[in-house]
Structure formats: C-alpha cells, structure tokens
C-alpha cells in the first residue's frame, strides 16, 4: 500500500499491488497561501515512514486537515500524522474530503466507515497579536466519546512544537504512554569542512545550531535534564570533552587530560560523567564529578575499554572491550567491579545503548562487513537485527523506550532513522543539510 501525499497533489493514492507497505508523504511546506511561510520548515522537508512485516497492530486514527491550516505556516495535521505514524502505534486513515474542527458536531458513523477508531479535529487561528492558537479535540468514535481538548497559543516559530505537543496528547490519551514527539534530539552534520552540532525536534526538523566548528564533533550526549550536551570536540587537534548549555551557549571543558578524551556518558542523576581517557596509556573508562574532580579509573585492562553507558538505575555500566580479542559488550558494577561479557555472537559488537525502562540493549554488530543495529531483550537474551541497511551507527532510545534513533546510510547518503524495537516501522528523519550523523535522543523535559 502506498499513499502519496505530495506538494503537487493532496490526493491519497492506494496502490494495493505493492507488497512492501510504504507510506510516504512529502509535507506541503510553504506553498499554498504562503504569506507567513518564513522560517521553520524548509521546502525540501520530507517525512517517510515505512511499515514492513506482518502483525503490526496500529490504532487507526483520522486526522482531517485542521481548519485554517492552509493559511498557517505549518501544516499541523501533516506533522501530527508523521509523528503518530513514526511511533509505530498509529495508522492514519483516509480523511480526504471530510472537514471538521474542534467544535464540529459530527456523525461518528462517517469516521467508522473510513475505518477510524478515533479522530483528532482542530483549528489553527491567527490571533491579533500575530501568534497562532492551535486547538484540538480528540474523539473516540467507537464509543462516541470526547477524550478532551487542548489549546496552544504559540508564535509562528513554535507551531511545529505545538503540533508535537498535540501529538503527545493524542499518544498519551490513546496508548496511556507518554509520547516523545515534543522531546529533542541532537545530531552532527558535516558540510564541506564545517561541522555543526544541531538541536532539533524529535523528527529532525526545526534544527537550531548549537556549535559550529572547523574540526569534527562526535558523541553528543544529553544530560538527564536535557539542558546540557556533553560531546567530543577536536577543535584543539585532539579529542576533548565539553559540556554545553544549549540555551546559553556556555561551554565547559570537562575532560582535557593528556592523550584522548572521549565517549562521554552522564550518570542518571547528572552528577557524574563517564569518559574514555588515555591519560595512563591505552583507552580506559573513568568516572568524573561533573563539577570537577580527579577522574577515578574504573577499568584496569591492557585492552581497549570504551563507550560506557550507565544502566537507568545507575547501578551498572555497559561498555565495549576487546579484552577477549575482539570488541564485545560487557557490563560491570558502577564502581568497575565484576565485569561480565554480554554479547557472544559475532566478533565485533559496539555502541551499547540501554532503554530507559532497562529492558532493552541496542548495539551495532558487524556481520560479514555490514554494520547492523541489533536489539537484545535483556531478560531473555533474545537478539534481533532490526534493519536491512548495512552501515548502522550510534543507536539511542526514545525516552519512552518505544523507538530507537540511529544513523545509517541509504542510497549512499548518510541518514538518520527511527525504528520501533521490532524493526517493523521505520522513518527517515530529514534534518539539516549535509552528511548527518551522531544522533542522540534527549530526555523528557516536562
């Protein structure tokens, strides 16, 4: 099945002959009306959600155009649709030709005929002060029940944020789990010889530059509050770790010891930072007080120990070590004691990421020259490769543990993707121009 929703036509096409379920829609960026279409969304913005495999259970929801959105700089209903479909929990049903806003009284039978279990109706209104009022109401059309409404009065620049908050509202109402659409991600682009660290919406859009550098930036890592990013910068011709307050731009050098300083990871309470330092020769894992203290060495091997990450309870640390001859994922207590090997299959397993609920381990495994994202159920040890790409890198979990963000290559270009944990629903994020890499999903901040 393929829906095509492009700038040229709003018609929904159904191609039932395609076995590969793919929903694709290019958002009409700044076209119709366009009088206010200035900043936030570039014309090339495009979302792409792929659904593969069978047995995907999704809630069917109708998302008719919001009243007035043709005159607004952002297509609220399209952003909602992309958010909800990207989550893997929802399927947008055809709402073509049906008009409604948050005050409309309507016949639920019409929506039932379209196959919807719920409908989100709303409006976007330009206020006298130049702001917009985004209103939404959510209906359960199976039980003819009003599930509540919201109003968000925002500047034009924050219309996308308002749409993400509406998507979070819908997600939580219908799944009883918090949505992650209004959270933020960080990523790095390389354009020519220029490296740029971006802070963007969870869909990669509305990117704001936090750091521009002529030298590489890698391994951005959000602090637990979402206020700071720690990262590795090569601006002094060696890797050093900064923490960076994104709202103020204030940077602090956290680790600039002799040798290399890399792989920063915050403790869940935000008071400590793990890092890989080579100050004693060889890459080893250390723990540091964020406010400055002598680093405490946690690993004592003559091998490579790197890419540490705390478990959500702060009790343990997962990391990569080649102490067994090839890089594998290990875990140890937070004080460095009792290291145990975690991955046993394959001879190159790196970049561990733990889900915030503590149930899942995502990592990259090299299989026959291909680097593939794997997800392990930590309770059972059952592991699955969840992509069909071959240059996957750097997984991180959404704060609700439902999605994984990672970098990969598609058609020879660097790309950021999200995937459900079972790999069945994937979306490509667009983000800023240039080679795009090193994503990290930020925490809930509300």
């Amino acid at each position: 099945m393929q829906y095509s929703w492009t700038a040229r036509t709003d018609n929904v096409k159904n191609d039932l002959s395609s076995a590969n379920f793919e929903r694709r829609f290019a958002l009409k960026a700044i076209s119709a009306g366009g009088l206010l279409g200035v900043t936030a969304m570039p014309a090339w913005a495009q979302f792409r959600v792929e659904v593969s495999g069978v047995g995907v259970t999704q809630l069917p929801i109708a998302l008719p155009l919001f009243a007035g959105e043709a005159q607004a700089p952002q297509k609220i209903s399209a952003i909602l649709r992309a958010d909800l479909e990207r989550s893997g929990m929802f399927r947008a049903v055809d709402a073509e030709g049906l008009k409604a806003d948050e005050n409309t009284r309507f016949d639920t039978a019409i929506w039932r005929q379209r196959g919807a279990d719920s409908v989100a109706t709303g409006s976007v209104t330009l206020l006298a002060d130049g702001r917009f009022d985004v209103r939404v109401r959510l209906w359960d059309v199976v039980r003819s029940q009003d599930l509540g409404g919201q109003s968000h009065v925002v500047s034009a620049a924050d219309l996308r944020l308002a749409a993400h908050r509406v998507a979070d509202f819908i997600h939580e109402k219908l799944t009883r789990e918090k949505g992650v659409f209004a959270t933020r991600i960080a990523y790095v682009t390389k354009s020519g010889t220029r490296f740029n660290l971006w802070v963007a919406d969870s869909d990669g859009e509305s990117a704001q530059s936090a750091l521009i550098s002529p030298e590489p930036i890698i391994s951005p890592s959000w602090s637990p509050t979402g206020a700071q990013l720690a990262y590795v910068s090569f601006e002094s011709r060696k890797p050093v770790i900064y923490s960076h307050d994104v709202a103020s731009g204030k940077r602090r050098l956290l680790a600039n010891f002799k040798g290399s300083n890399s792989a920063p990871a915050w403790s869940p309470d935000g008071r400590h930072l793990l890092a890989t330092l080579s100050r004693d020769g060889g890459s080893q894992i250390y723990s540091m007080d964020v406010n400055g203290s002598e680093p405490r060495r946690l690993t004592q091997s003559s091998s490579i120990d790197t890419e540490p990450t705390y478990t959500p309870d702060g009790q343990n640390i997962y990391f990569v070590s080649d102490r067994g001859g090839a890089p594998q994922i290990y875990k140890m207590a937070a004080n460095g004691s009792n290291p145990q090997r975690v991955t046993f299959s394959g001879n190159y397993n790196i970049s561990p990421a733990l889900s915030p609920d503590g149930r899942w381990l995502a990592y990259i495994s090299r299989i026959g020259g291909a680097f593939k994202l794997h997800v392990m159920d930590l309770a059972s040890g059952v592991t699955n490769a969840i992509t069909d790409t071959s240059a996957d890198e750097n997984p991180s979990f959404a704060p609700n543990s439902r999605l994984i963000l990672y970098a990969t290559q598609q058609q020879g270009r660097e790309a950021l993707m999200t995937s459900t944990l079972d790999g069945k629903v994937k979306a490509r994020l667009t983000g800023a121009v240039g080679d795009i890499r090193e994503p990290d999903w930020g925490p809930f901040t509300r």
Partner: protein, 189 residues
C-alpha cells in the same frame, strides 16, 4: 558567519499540561480549554533576518545559542627531510620496520631538543564505529610513543592522541584510501 537568525527561531515555550478529559458530553458543548494563559512572554516574531545578537533575550524554553569555533594554529617545524607519517597494516598496531628510521630520526631530534614537543596522532580507516576507531587510533599513537620513549625521548615531550576515523588523509571507500588513512602523524608543536 554568525548564526544570528537562530535566535529568532524560538520566542516562547508554553508549558502545556494535558487537559483532563470530559466524557459523555454532547459533542458541541465542550469548550476547548485554554492552557496558554500562564505563558505571557516574548513578543511574537515573524521578522526574518538580522536581530542584534546582544538584544535577543534567551527565553527559558527551547532556544539554542549558537557558538562558532575558529581554526586552530598549525604545527611547528621538526627535523628536515624526515617522514612525518607512519602507515599501518589493516588491524595492526605495530610500527612497520620500514618506518623505524623515521621514528629514530624524530627521537634523536627530540632528545637533542628537550624543549620541543610532539603530538602523535593516530588514525584509522572509516570502517567501524567512531568511538571504537578512536580507541584503535589511540593504539597506533601509543605504539609510536612507546618506540620513542624506548629511544630515550621524555614522556613530557610526547602526547599520543587519536583522531580516529575523523580526519582521513584520503576520502573514499577504496582499499587504497583505507591504507592511506591507517596512519600515525607526527606533528611538532
């Protein structure tokens, strides 16, 4: 170029809590609850381009203040006519014999010029994870460092660092490029 316009991208963030649901009410009698009252804040800004940086107040919300780094200074001079790049075999971290004379020459230069310092920068090819490659590049830099200290160079004159796969000498995904990139560069400071 300063990324001035990003200051405009965010004026206010509203703390919007979920609105409680009112069920079993006639569909058109439910008023939409306005949760925006708490947020006074920032003037709405639709104006494009150049607001002065200093004038932009940083709202408590999602504004991101951009920072720009300038290029660092380049390296100083070392011994004349001596190779400054040492290449490594695939998955190897030992200095090949053909490069031993270069290591010897740099070591002699450093032992007779005690005030000079050198950075040994390890590099890898592009295959594999960035952080793990950083650690592998470190192993190459450490191998050269050990050779030099065995030849009498003081630890205080050497810093072994890694640039991992981040600074390829040659771009491209060919065996030739990979071989050019598996290296340690010796840079005098």
């Amino acid at each position: 170029m300063k990324q001035v316009h990003f200051f405009l991208l965010s004026a206010l963030t509203l703390s919007l809590t979920l609105v409680g649901c009112g069920s079993n009410v006639k569909l058109n009698e439910v008023a939409v609850e306005d949760r925006s009252g708490a947020a006074t804040a920032a003037s709405p800004t639709l104006a494009p381009a150049a607001a002065p940086v200093a004038a932009a107040p940083v709202p408590a919300g999602r504004a991101v203040a951009p920072v720009e780094i300038r290029s660092a200074d380049s390296a100083g001079a070392g011994p004349a006519g001596v190779a400054r790049v040492i290449y490594f075999d695939y998955d190897s971290f030992t200095v090949r014999s053909e490069f031993q004379s270069a290591v010897d020459a740099h070591s002699r230069f450093l032992t007779s010029n005690k005030v000079r310092k050198i950075a040994i920068e390890g590099h890898t090819d592009e295959r594999g994870g960035r952080e793990y490659n950083l650690a592998l590049g470190q192993k190459r830099a450490e191998a050269v460092r050990r050779s030099m200290t065995l030849l009498g160079v003081a630890e205080s004159q050497i810093e072994a660092v890694s640039l991992g796969e981040e600074k390829p000498a040659q771009t491209g995904s060919t065996e030739e490029a990979y071989a050019r990139n598996r290296r340690a560069e010796l840079n005098y400071r």
